[in-house]
């Protein structure tokens, strides 16, 4: 437990590899979130992921360099049985849903459940409600600073075709752009946040299109992950043994109680 202070000092430049997996229903924008994070780009019509896509991104957190190895998985339900292949050994997961589709949150919940039971027990999970640009007043999002505003508009049209019943439900009776865009929201921030809190997840609302909240997701994950622990374990047996050896080489499985005993024994030895 006292290790964290010592570890980064030993090797500050060495990047910590973090395996991160993106999960969530089809077309909620998983690939777009990754694209925004890795290349700061947005494509209106991102091809659906077959199996999974793999990208990496380095970033700096305080004095550490983190290399995210990102597995962006296919969202369609039937690909689900393949997902363990991608989330095995992952240290972090971002479960994405679409704030304009309540069903996608339900799907996200089942992902969280699965991760908590089947994945690496220390996995850090973040819940991200994507496409908030669609529920913001139009002044923010429809004239974005992105160079491809024409295609962005197409994208909204696409989203609309993807879930026609949303439009049908809201289209006629709402008046005013703000109300109309806000009414596309099917998952309230409070509801999702509440759920995330309950399950111990990090929570964000994001827009891959405008970039809102995307970097934060990864930053917060980086903060929460026991980086030093990963560093120690990936450094191989030599590095890991280093700390233990200083203590007089207790068995790796020793619990904290044992550790104290060791220390007290050592003190005694020193006192003699």
């Amino acid at each position: 437990m006292s290790a964290p202070a010592a570890a980064p000092a030993e090797a500050p430049a060495r990047p910590v590899q973090v395996k991160l997996v993106l999960l969530g229903e089809s077309a909620v924008g998983k690939s777009s979130v990754v694209l925004r994070f890795c290349q700061n780009d947005f494509q209106a019509n991102k091809e659906p992921t077959i199996g999974a896509a793999f990208l990496t991104q380095r970033c700096r957190l305080e004095d550490k360099v983190i290399k995210f190895e990102i597995w962006d998985t296919a969202g369609q339900e039937r690909f689900r049985s393949l997902s363990p292949m991608y989330y095995r050994n992952a240290q972090a997961a971002v479960v994405v849903y679409d704030v304009t589709k309540s069903a996608s949150l339900e799907q996200a919940k089942t992902w969280v459940k699965e991760l908590q039971r089947q994945a690496n027990p220390n996995i850090v999970i973040a819940l991200a409600g994507n496409k908030v640009d669609l529920v913001r007043p139009s002044s923010d999002s429809d004239e974005p600073s992105t160079p491809t505003s024409a295609t962005s508009d197409d994208d909204e049209a696409d989203d609309a075709t993807a879930t026609p019943e949303d439009d049908a439900a809201e289209g006629g009776d709402e008046e005013g752009a703000v109300a109309a865009s806000e009414s596309r929201r099917q998952v309230s921030r409070e509801e999702a946040e509440e759920y995330a809190k309950e399950c111990g997840l990090l929570f964000f609302e994001t827009s891959a299109k405008t970039g809102e909240g995307v970097v934060e997701v990864f930053t917060e994950i980086a903060k929460k992950i026991p980086l030093d622990h990963i560093l120690a374990s990936t450094r191989g047996p030599g590095g890991a043994a280093g700390r233990g050896a200083g203590r007089g080489g207790p068995a790796a499985g020793g619990a904290s109680v044992n550790l104290n005993e060791e220390e007290s024994a050592k003190k005694d030895a020193c006192a003699c």
Binding site: S26, N45, I50, A103
Partner: protein, 1031 residues
């Protein structure tokens, strides 16, 4: 029983193909074609020297031929294209004197001579059959001419086109619009225009042939680089000499021409031809149009998924930034999803469809997609993606066998092969490779079958071997391949001094490695490898599904993990059985697309009506496994001893128990009682909740349960009718008990119930039961004042308390509710521990018969054997059938003393000695089930014994296959590309453009040699590394 579930599971994924299936598969024939005869034959094409010895087959409407090596010469000929058949005089047309030879004149004027070399009677029978079938195909002939106009080749070779002059035609082609996108119905050539309006927005070519979006939006790739012109020239030559579209005969040069890449404008037609979808289109005119029409405006989970992906399928291709392209893609994908609702839509199909549509009309594409999903890659795109998972397992094993050093390295570095290879297979390499290269793989895939996907995959790994051996994790592995794919068009030997070697691209190198070095991978290899891993993959998929289903339960009640597992198994068995029954009647037309309304296996597809307003219940669409009332009967029969009849059949040879679920109104009532969402079908959650309410009951809760099951309106009272039904239910439960004691108890109960029922004293406020599960609504729960209408059968009549009192008055019934009812529910183990079979485990049966029983004890055979034994037993008149009791409390002796009990109704004096129904007593069947050895479901010892007679274990057979394949590979014929240079130079000697193409072919040959050298080198390197890693 124990392996029934596994068997059902396996069946739901895979049905062993019959001989007929294999025959159809071999010649890409439509479903329903039956083999009607075969003869040894030698085939020659008029005007050609080569003669191919092989076999000629006749089926319902096709004549097919394959040379002995199954590769050099192939022909799949619709009988309708045969215009004339003559028996040749001996010696005529170069046939051997005295031989039996036929000359067939085909639709396109081609003449084929086949010399039948079988024995005379066989030949005669074959010819007689042929005559009959030819006559039968006469009606089809009419459709042939208009149909042939849908082919580009027909137009390309037509004399009309020649009249315009090559140059003019070529120019005209430039501005050509898309071909007709839909087939016309039969003769009404003119009617087609109208129909066309409905489906296409683009004008006709004016030539009538089908074409892809590429005709409007340009084909991918640089036509000059692709040598389109030369290729077209070579193809023209080939088509003129060997027939075209429906009458095309595949000679060795056909394979060669496909291998160097199909020209864009012929690609769609050749795909259609090589995969056989052409024949489906021929045999099912108008089906595609009908599918679209009948399902217009319908929505389903699949169509929603399709919508999501339409705008993101090859978005960089111009057609898919356009409404024309998007609409076309939508129509094809939705039409397929309606034609096969069980599969629906799977991501990756969008990519494939988008690619096909560049080269094909939408109708061509629909049939091609049908063949791909149903026949070439079965199970790839199904909801479980079983085929994909299986082939990944197979691929992994092939890597282990062919590239051991890479496999070992990956195992050591914990790199998972399928993270890269899964998308290759699923998207036919389209999602990984640049399009032009992926299409060339598809050219070969349709020609040579699924083994191509494996061969190319292995080649990719092999070519990148040295780099891959340096990778340490999944990410690095993916990146190596990404880099490689991005440079496929570059020279494989940029530093070579020979300019020709320099010109060889990495892709050419890849092809040569794939088809030369991995020629050992044959169809048989794939088939046997799939067989080897099939059961394993099914188990892993099912285990995953089970785990998810249990995890996703909202409420597990008091059931522990094991009980939940068993409940799931029972639930699934019931569901699988009912699906199997639904499938059975229409099994014959499994492949041929059914008219959309007759697809029996689409129980949960929402009907069109529910989507009119566009506000369909979105979440409800999610396909959730549910069992209907019929399946529930089976389910209940499996878990409740009184819901089935068990007969112990002794036929003199052995005994077996015959189990049949029995229907009764009680089953209906339980079904309705458990159906909490009132959806008419039970989900797994419903089942778990239902079981929770019966598995752990004591006396009082059992009483309440039975009461509530009969209380239809949940008001806390039974009506008079319902009281009668309670008694009927009890009699149903006791129907198999020996003696009359239960009958007596129940008849007394009826008397008492009517005597003490509340309504006889309506002024009293009947005591309300606190233990009632669903408390009555205060407004309706009270007995209404209209007690005057005493004979109203729907009037609240009997309260739980009274019911309880009457039951408790009878010791036998009290006993039943105290423990027997609870004990009658039993979740049996359906999946025995998957252990290797132990011969002689059931040796107790003894004797020769026992030996046979053990030998054939797979579940399926057991049923058959039981039937056989019963039949024999009946004949010999030694069969006895005993009905087995459900409760089993009273044995014959106890039953005999029953009359006394009837007199003293309310006394508890002669209560029979309490026999707690311990687990082993009531259910000898489960014990029997456990005794059965758990054979792997696919192996069939019965067939083994009869066919081979040898007791060679299954495992050994695979090895033999591999060895045979390897030795075959050593002696295999020369690689097709070799032949190009050796044999056919003079054939293609004309023309500058041709020379260029020939250069390419030759370069491939050079490359071929270079690679062999290099391959040997790199192979040695790998070996060396192997050696090192071993050291």
């Amino acid at each position: 029983m124990s392996s029934t579930l596994r068997r059902q599971q396996n069946k739901s994924y895979y049905v062993e193909p019959t001989k007929e299936d294999l025959f159809r598969l071999a010649f890409a024939l439509p479903e329903g074609e039956e083999a009607l005869g075969e003869v040894h034959a030698v085939l020659t094409l008029q005007g050609k020297q080569e003669a191919f010895s092989g076999k000629l087959y006749l089926s319902t409407s096709f004549l097919t031929f394959t040379s002995l090596d199954r590769r050099s010469c192939r022909l799949t000929l619709p009988l309708a294209t045969v215009r004339r058949v003559e028996k040749l005089a001996p010696g005529q047309d170069g046939t051997i004197a005295g031989a039996f030879a036929l000359s067939l004149t085909l639709f396109h004027g081609l003449r084929i001579v086949v010399q039948l070399n079988s024995l005379r009677p066989t030949n005669d029978a074959f010819c007689a059959n042929l005559r009959t079938r030819l006559k039968a195909s006469l009606p089809m002939m009419k459709a042939l001419k208009p149909f042939s106009h849908t082919f580009f080749s027909e137009w390309y070779l037509s004399p009309d086109r020649e009249l315009d002059g090559e140059a003019a035609a070529a120019k005209k082609q430039q501005d050509e619009k898309v071909g007709e996108l839909i087939s016309f119905d039969d003769e009404k050539g003119k009617g087609k225009e109208e129909e066309q309006r409905e489906f296409t927005t683009e004008g006709d070519t004016g030539h009538g042939y089908h074409g892809g979006l590429g005709l409007i939006f340009k084909f991918p790739g640089d036509p000059r680089k692709l040598r389109e012109k030369s290729k077209m020239k070579l193809w023209k030559e080939y088509l003129e000499q060997h027939g075209r579209n429906l009458t095309l005969i595949r000679y060795p040069s056909f394979t060669r021409l496909v291998l160097v890449g199909l020209p864009n404008r012929l690609r769609g037609e050749m795909w259609e031809l090589t995969c056989g979808s052409m024949f489906l289109r021929l045999h099912n005119p108008g089906v595609y149009a009908r599918l679209l029409k009948e399902n217009a405006g319908r929505r389903s989970a699949s169509t929603d998924d399709i919508e999501k992906d339409l705008h993101r399928s090859l978005p960089e291709y111009a057609a898919y930034q356009d409404k024309v392209g998007i609409d076309t893609m939508r129509r094809v994908l939705t039409a397929y999803s309606w034609s096969n609702p069980a599969l629906g839509y799977c991501q990756a199909m969008n990519l494939i469809t988008a690619s096909f549509l560049i080269y094909m009309s939408e109708e061509q594409c629909f049939w091609c997609l049908t063949v791909l999903c149903d026949r070439l890659l079965p199970g790839y795109y199904s909801p479980s993606m079983y085929g994909t998972v299986l082939d990944q397992r197979v691929f992994e094993h092939l890597v282990q066998r062919c590239l051991p050093s890479i496999h070992d390295h990956f195992a050591e570095a914990d790199v998972q092969l399928s993270v890269a290879s899964l998308p290759w297979f699923l998207s036919l390499y389209i999602s990984s490779l640049p399009m032009v290269f992926a299409f060339r793989i598809i050219d070969c895939f349709f020609l040579m079958g699924p083994k191509v996907l494996f061969q190319v995959g292995l080649a990719i790994l092999k070519v990148n071997g040295p780099e891959l051996l340096q990778t340490t994790d999944d990410g690095a592995f993916i990146n190596v391949l990404k880099r490689y794919f991005a440079t496929l068009g570059e020279s494989a030997h940029p530093n070579s001094s020979d300019s020709r070697t320099r010109q060889i691209t990495k892709f050419q190198e890849l092809f040569v490695v794939a088809f030369r070095e991995f020629a050992i991978i044959t169809d048989e290899t794939i088939a046997s490898e799939r067989k080897r891993f099939r059961a394993e993959v099914v188990i892993s998929i099912e285990t995953f599904a089970k785990r998810s289903a249990i995890r996703n339960l909202k409420d597990t009640g008091r059931l522990d993990k094991a009980q939940l597992g068993l409940a799931y198994d029972h639930f699934q068995l019931a569901s699988l059985r009912s699906k199997e029954q639904a499938r059975r009647p229409s099994a014959a037309d499994a492949l041929s697309p059914k008219p959309p309304n007759s697809t029996g296996a689409s129980p949960r597809t929402p009907s069109s009506a529910s989507f009119g307003g566009g506000s369909g219940p979105k979440d409800e669409e999610k396909v959730e496994e549910r069992i209907d009332r019929k399946a529930f009967g089976r389910f209940l029969g499996d878990i409740a001893s009184w819901a089935r009849d068990e007969k112990l059949v002794k036929n003199g040879f052995h005994e077996h128990i015959d189990r049949q679920p029995v229907d009764h109104e009680l089953v209906d009532r339980i079904f309705v009682y458990w159906d909490q969402s009132l959806s008419g079908a039970l989900s797994f959650q419903d089942i778990v909740t239902g079981l929770d309410a019966v598995l752990f009951n004591d006396l009082m809760s059992n009483l309440a349960w039975l009461f509530n099951v009969h209380d239809s309106n949940h008001d806390g009272y039974l009506t008079k009718d319902e009281v009668l039904q309670v008694s009927e239910s009890l009699l149903f439960i006791f129907r198999n008990e020996p003696g009359d004691r239960y009958l007596g108890s129940v008849s007394n109960l009826i008397q008492n119930l009517f005597e003490y029922a509340e309504s006889t004293k309506p002024e009293e406020n009947p005591p309300r039961s606190p233990s009632l599960g669903r408390s009555p609504d205060p407004s309706t729960g009270r007995p209404r004042a209209n007690s005057i209408v005493s004979d109203n059968p729907h009037r609240p009549y009997l309260a739980l308390a009274t019911f309880r009192m009457c039951i408790l008055a009878d010791p036998l019934l009290e006993d039943f509710f105290e423990s027997d009812l609870t004990n009658s529910w039993r979740l049996e183990v359906l999946i025995a521990e998957e252990k290797p079979k132990q011969p002689g485990a059931g040796g107790a049966v003894g004797g020769w018969w026992g030996g046979i029983v053990n030998a054939v004890m797979t579940d399926e055979n057991k049923e058959r054997l039981n039937r056989l034994a019963d039949e024999v037993g009946k004949r010999l008149d030694i069969q006895t059938i005993e009905h087995r009791p459900s409760i089993g409390k009273l044995d014959a002796a106890a039953a005999a003393i029953e009359p006394q009990a009837r007199d003293s109704l309310f006394s508890t004096s002669n209560r029979p000695p309490k026999q707690p129904a311990s687990p082993e007593i009531p259910n000898p069947l489960s014990a029997a089930a456990m005794r059965m050895p758990a054979y792997p479901p696919t192996s069939n010892p019965w067939a083994d014994a009869s066919s081979s007679g040898s007791s060679s274990p299954n495992l050994g057979r695979h090895e033999i296959d591999v060895q045979a394949a390897a030795s075959q590979a050593l002696h295999r014929q020369q690689f097709v590309i070799d032949d190009v240079a050796e044999g056919d130079d003079e054939d293609y000697a004309g023309g500058e453009g041709d020379a260029e193409l020939m250069n390419q072919v030759e370069r491939m040959l050079v490359e071929d040699e270079a690679v062999t050298g290099k391959a040997a080198q790199s192979g040695q390197d790998l070996l060396k590394q192997d050696g090192q890693s071993l050291l």
